[in-house]
């Protein structure tokens, strides 16, 4: 049962529309991630839901009620800004207590709740600290505590880890999800970082140019990107044009410039003979073969142009005779790899190749 329903939200800026006819729902206690490149309308969407901006068209329903006429301060939604917006003239305690004071709670209750949320975010004992002297990570926690303190019915987080350095971000991602899930709050999380979205979210909504392009669980979206844009955005760059030349039950054959490929992951699409499509080869599709390839082996031959050791695996870039560059991650030992510039033969697993609709220009 969705608690938040977004129906056809649209806001125009001159000729452009950000967001443009966006609809999605969020279930109670669910974390939904809005994922997309910067400037795609994610933040505006949040601000409309929060009531800080008004949409030109569309509806926001919370618990079945249209919130259009509910002023910002009566919505009891939390919003954590990317820059945190901590009140610089108030200390940690006063910042976290602000929302509770607005509810006219008795002093003792405010104190108890502040202590409780500060403990939740791991900042016990920070009450009297000056917020301006905290580290980035600590400020982020204070902002989270401040948003959580009044027990918001919906918590929105706008790039909450955006201004932190990489290592801190990776650590806080998992922690953030644990805290949100522990509290059980319904949350919308905005980010442009795919890894962050996949770590934190139960479900992701991918946006581009103000429009929703795909929605689903992180696994779904990664396994079956709906468009070339989604594939590229998720870091899947081995995309090449192809033509369907054979269709069977659950598998297909496509003709591409690197040869004929067998596909056994057809995803959602319905493919007919002769259709032009985009072929997506996942980086993990390849295995190195040393003996001479058989014709029907989904094998390709190319020149090894880049090779880097990444701990558990190697990342290889090969150049096919057609001039196309493809990159793969392979489990291999150093001895089995040819030197740079030498010819290499790879076999591609048919279940790691899929078809996407070709973008019509």
């Amino acid at each position: 049962m969705p608690i938040l329903e977004i129906h056809h939200l649209t806001k125009s800026y001159g000729d452009e529309r950000f967001p443009d006819d966006i609809s999605f729902t969020v279930n109670e206690g669910e974390i939904v991630c809005l994922l997309g490149p910067s400037g795609c309308g994610k933040t505006t969407l949040l601000r409309i839901i929060a009531g800080l901006e008004t949409a030109d068209a569309g509806q926001v329903l919370f618990a079945g009620r249209d919130v259009r006429d509910v002023p910002v301060h009566h919505r009891n939604f939390g919003l954590m800004f990317q820059d945190y917006a901590l009140f610089p003239h108030k200390n940690v305690f006063e910042n976290v207590a602000f929302g509770l004071r607005m509810m006219h709670l008795p002093r003792t209750e405010v104190e108890t709740r502040v202590r409780e949320v500060l403990e939740l975010v791991g900042l016990s004992g920070f009450e009297e600290r000056d917020v301006n002297l905290l580290s980035g990570g600590e400020q982020q926690r204070v902002a989270l505590a401040r948003s959580l303190a009044p027990r918001p019915r919906l918590l929105m987080l706008d790039e909450p880890l955006g201004s932190l350095d990489r290592t801190l971000r990776e650590r806080l991602m998992n922690e953030l999800r644990a805290i949100l899930k522990g509290v059980g709050v319904t949350a919308i999380y905005v980010t442009h970082d795919q890894e962050e979205a996949f770590t934190v979210a139960d479900r992701v909504v991918i946006m581009n140019h103000g429009r929703k392009v795909q929605e689903g669980t992180p696994q779904d979206v990664y396994q079956n990107p709906a468009t070339e844009f989604v594939a590229r955005f998720l870091g899947l760059t081995n995309l090449l044009p192809g033509k369907v030349v054979g269709v069977g039950k659950g598998h297909a054959e496509v003709e591409t410039e690197i040869g004929r490929l067998e596909i056994s992951n057809l995803g959602i699409g319905n493919w007919e003979l002769g259709v032009e499509a985009t072929v997506l080869i996942r980086p993990e599709a390849a295995g190195v073969i040393t003996e001479s390839p058989l014709a029907d082996d989904n094998a390709i031959v190319g020149t090894l142009v880049e090779r880097s050791f990444r701990g558990g695996y190697y990342r290889l870039v090969i150049r096919h005779a057609s001039g196309l560059h493809l990159s793969f991650t392979v489990q291999a030992i150093s001895e089995s790899l040819p030197p740079l510039g030498a010819s290499i033969c790879l076999s591609l697993r048919s279940e790691a190749i899929s078809l996407l609709p070709r973008v019509q220009n």
Partner: protein, 579 residues
């Protein structure tokens, strides 16, 4: 004025680097004597007269004699003067802040067509000479104003219905007119850079917009608000021309009382004592102001203005913006427009009679020469002031640019002192100090440009200093490495970069000199009047022609100052100027 706003946004590390180089540059290459010039000038023409005031007040006969200070305390008249000075300044300040806050808000948070033009126009009143403002309000609301004449004709009245002349209301109104832009600029500028997310965060946490303002925005604005209010208070506390001309004989601030004691009653010891009281009070307030400026320890997450401003979209936004724009135009521009309009009025129609009369020397005129002589005098004094103020100001700025030296830390407040000292006090000091050996300049026409230079000097320093500090040391180093001598480096690198700031400083000095009234009213020779003095004399004479000539000359002065100011706005480097 808002040095503390800009100073905060500069990159400290970069500046530190820059200073270290300027230090070596100035210390190594400029002759010691040149660097002493501003100090010598201040010593002779500021501290020496000040000292004379002290001496005359406390020891008029050479030994300690507290008769004058005692009179100050024993007579209730002077206590009443101090009381009036204080309360009118307080009320003026409160009124100005209350009326200007909505304007500051719309300037901070909205974009609207014509905004930058309006911003420039709202500052025009601030640079108007007091004498022009007095004449303008006279033209708008005085007994001979068209507003009053129309109302009399309309209702068949015998006397003008609007009678603000010589009431406290016209004083308050003129003070609001003058200082509106101080609050608008300081508070509005600060507000524009304040992160709007803070207020939004408060709203999301359940505060209604009023509570969000009181709990979050107002405390954050407080330093700017208090600084602006204090500055307005100082200006109103030392108000001279407005009170003297618009208030009439019934009202006197300390400043006006000093003038009267000197010019009308010739009670110099008492005038000196009043000056002393005035200096003490204004210096105390100025030091509070500077201390407030320094208290900027709280990082405020300032944001560039593009990200904090929006177009008014709802009807409430539009009403708010529109209402304030109309208010600003009515308050700030109608008096000036009325002045120009009334100056062209001859009684029967519009003509240039009042202007052409300026060239005629009539019998029984208040002048021994045609009034146009006053224009010539003003221009000559202003030219001298520009030259003097530029030379001294640039040397002063170089001394201050080296922030590492202990000297510059001492010099900064000393260079600003003339700003905190009232012009009448200064003029009075000249009368008592510079009229006898070792320095007898009483009859010298040079005294006026010297007084004007003292007032203009801090402005030139403030205009040049930030640009000087902003010159990247690598520029000078590159020039040196490429073979330029120190003098050549200055000519090829410093001068072109500082030139626009110099122009700004020059225009400041020019407009200040053209409009200066307080000091000039005390030291000007009768046969050598300046434009403000001539206007004051015209206003004091009966007859439509004298009144018309006062307005004509005021209009000319207004145009000169407005053009000067608008050219400053054009030449200024973005927001680099320090006031």
């Amino acid at each position: 004025m808002n040095e503390w706003m800009n100073g905060r946004m500069m990159n400290d590390k970069h500046l530190l680097f820059a200073y270290s180089h300027i230090r070596t540059f100035t210390i190594r290459y400029s002759p010691f004597a040149i660097r002493l010039l501003p100090l010598v000038f201040l010593a002779v023409f500021f501290f020496y007269p000040l000292l004379a005031i002290f001496r005359l007040s406390l020891a008029p006969q050479g030994h300690l004699d507290l008769a004058a200070p005692a009179k100050l305390v024993s007579t209730t008249y002077y206590a009443r003067t101090l009381w009036f000075t204080t309360w009118q300044a307080t009320v003026s300040t409160l009124l100005t802040v209350i009326l200007a806050m909505p304007g500051a808000y719309i300037f901070a948070r909205y974009r609207f067509p014509g905004k930058s033009l309006l911003q420039a126009l709202t500052t025009v009143p601030f640079v108007m000479p007091t004498i022009v403002v007095a004449a303008a309000f006279n033209a708008l609301l005085g007994p001979r104003s068209h507003l009053n004449l129309a109302l009399m004709a309309l209702f068949g009245l015998q006397r003008p219905p609007i009678n603000l002349q010589h009431t406290i209301w016209i004083i308050l109104l003129a003070h609001v007119f003058y200082n509106y832009t101080v609050v608008l600029r300081i508070v509005g500028g600060f507000w524009a850079n304040l992160n709007p997310r803070l207020e939004e965060a408060a709203r999301l946490l359940g505060a209604d917009s009023w509570r969000a303002f009181w709990q979050v925005t107002l405390p954050l604005l407080a330093p700017a608000l208090v600084a602006a209010a204090l500055l307005v208070f100082i200006f109103c506390f030392t108000s001279f021309g407005v009170v003297l001309i618009l208030g009439g004989p019934r009202f006197a601030t300390l400043e006006v009382e000093i003038y009267r004691q000197t010019v009308h009653l010739f009670n110099l010891p008492l005038a000196a004592t009043l000056s002393l009281a005035q200096i003490t009070l204004t210096l105390a307030m100025t030091s509070v102001y500077t201390r407030l400026q320094a208290r900027t320890a709280r990082p405020l997450q300032l944001r560039p203005q593009q990200t904090t401003q929006r177009w008014p979209t709802t009807w409430r936004d539009r009403a708010l913006v529109g209402g304030n724009v109309v208010f600003m135009v009515v308050l700030l521009l109608t008096p000036l427009l009325a002045l120009a309009e009334r100056s062209l009025w001859t009684g029967r129609g519009y003509a240039l009679t009042n202007y052409s009369e300026l060239f005629v020397n009539r019998r029984g005129s208040v002048f021994f020469v045609p009034p146009v002589e006053a224009v010539r005098n003003s221009l000559a004094f202003a030219a001298l002031t520009v030259g003097l103020a530029l030379v001294l100001g640039v040397i002063g700025a170089y001394l201050l640019a080296d922030r590492k030296s202990r000297l510059s830390r001492w010099l900064d407040p000393i260079f600003m002192l003339p700003l905190g000292t009232s012009a009448v006090t200064l003029g009075f000091g000249y009368i008592i100090a510079l009229d006898r050996p070792p320095l007898n300049l009483r009859t010298s026409p040079l005294l006026i440009p010297i007084a004007h230079t003292l007032v203009a000097f801090p402005f030139v320093v403030r205009a040049v200093l930030p640009v000087l500090r902003g010159i990247h040391p690598h520029l000078r180093e590159s020039a040196s490495v490429l073979g330029a001598s120190p003098a050549r480096v200055w000519r090829e690198i410093d001068l072109p970069i500082v030139s626009r700031a110099l122009l700004v400083g020059a225009v400041f000095a020019f407009t200040i000199s053209m409009g200066e009234f307080g000091a000039t009213s005390l030291i000007a020779r009768p046969q050598m009047p300046t434009m403000p003095i001539a206007i004051y004399r015209f206003l004091g004479q009966p007859g439509a022609l004298n009144y018309g000539q006062a307005l004509a000359m005021s209009t000319l002065l207004m145009l000169v100052c407005a053009m000067g100011f608008l050219s400053i706005e054009r030449f200024r480097y973005g927001e680099v100027g320090e006031f």
